[in-house]
Amino acid sequence: MRLSLLALPLALAATAALAHGPTPQKVSQSITIKASPDAVWKVAGDFAGIGQWHPDIAKAEGKGGNGEGGSRTLTLKNGGTLTEGLDEWKADARSYSYRMSGEPDLKALPVSSYSATFTVSPEGDGAKVEWMGRFYRGDTGNEPPDNLSDDAGREAMNRFFSDGLKGLKAAAEGGKRTQ
């Protein structure tokens, strides 16, 4: 009647970097920009236009436009590739939400999945840009190696967001696109 735990193959304890794990982690970066929120949104609001201001991205290609179902494929300068799909894109709120939609590429980011929200809002005379998300480490099993741990994922995601926001600030304040 009872199934012993011993009968379960021990191999089941190990998990490859698959799609999702049970313990999500937070990532959050923000920056203030000396430009109007509308001007910043004009630069940053186009989902597939990220390649024009994010310094870590070599190439960005979009499909389906700015709406639910739209997607972008990013080729990073480190050689990795990320495919992301839009869940929501709201021009009136200057905000969009998206998630990783393709297979994980640990070379691009050491994470197995993520979702994120990008928002431009007024702050003083200028704008504040918030980029926040939820990710799962590269190895979602119980004993991840250091390079696929929560800490490694947090560092890489925060760096990717932070680099992007610095690039956006330069592009929006400089009045020209840097990439």
């Binding site: 089941l12 799609a19 937070k26």
Partner: protein, 313 residues
Amino acid sequence: MSWPLLAAILFALSGAPALAGTVWVASQQGARLSRIEAGTVADAAAVPSAPATVAAGGGLLFLSHPDGHAITVAEAATGRVLRRLPYAGQVFGLAASADGRTVFATDWSGHRVDRIAAADGRVEGSAPTGRDPAHLVLDRTGRLFVADRESRQVSVIDAARMERVATIPVGEAPFALALDPAEARLYVGNVRSNSLTVIDTTALKAVATVPAGAMPYGVAVSPDGARVLVTNQGAGTVTALDAASLAIAATIGVGRYPEGIVVAGEGGAARAYVANWFSDDVSVIDLTSLKAVARLPVAEGPRSLAVASEGGR
């Protein structure tokens, strides 16, 4: 223990759903249990690190620690930690029997569900599930419904025999599920297809799949069964669907990255409580007006809630 005796212990006390009880929320990063009563955070208790989910039964609370190889048992009246049950796997979803003597746990990377004695953590039985089993619910007849996230299905398991009796195809990446008060229907949120699947629990078949919102991560049903509430993590909203027509009756703004949702109270006092994982608070929704009426700050990273019945039975 013979199985008829075990079944008696498990199910004879499976009474009415715990509606008029105490709401507890578990914060993953903050490692705390917070008790919400009369619209305020009344109490908080420290727990071991990174609790992912919480379940209630028989005056006890159970917390899963996927990275900690453990289930924590706490007192539902106070949140005080009673003991740690070691768990040989990556425990995620929990469901407790009404008497609190048994807790069922999914092993995310072991692709199975275990029946565990709450007293000492002994595994009494196991059943295979699909890949990456997430949340699960136990009905009053002793069936477990498990959301098999990476198998796009719900596994139905006879909890007394710990045998799988059915698998029901649903949408992409099912994660959370909820029974209606009559237990005639099971609602399943599909994270990747942004939809809700409705399962007939007698026929054990999906009868409808309808749009819900961006990334449905939590599901609850109103005490009268008329509304289905879904948290949309990608949108920061809760959608309230009409159970009869399955049309969206309202979209309610909550905090950032809402995940778990429960309903407590009855009639005009019925409220939904939503764990906003990123904004570190709980939204309270009035189920008559379908409006958010409060935001209550809690410890960092609230993900999961449970309703503990009064008196502890």
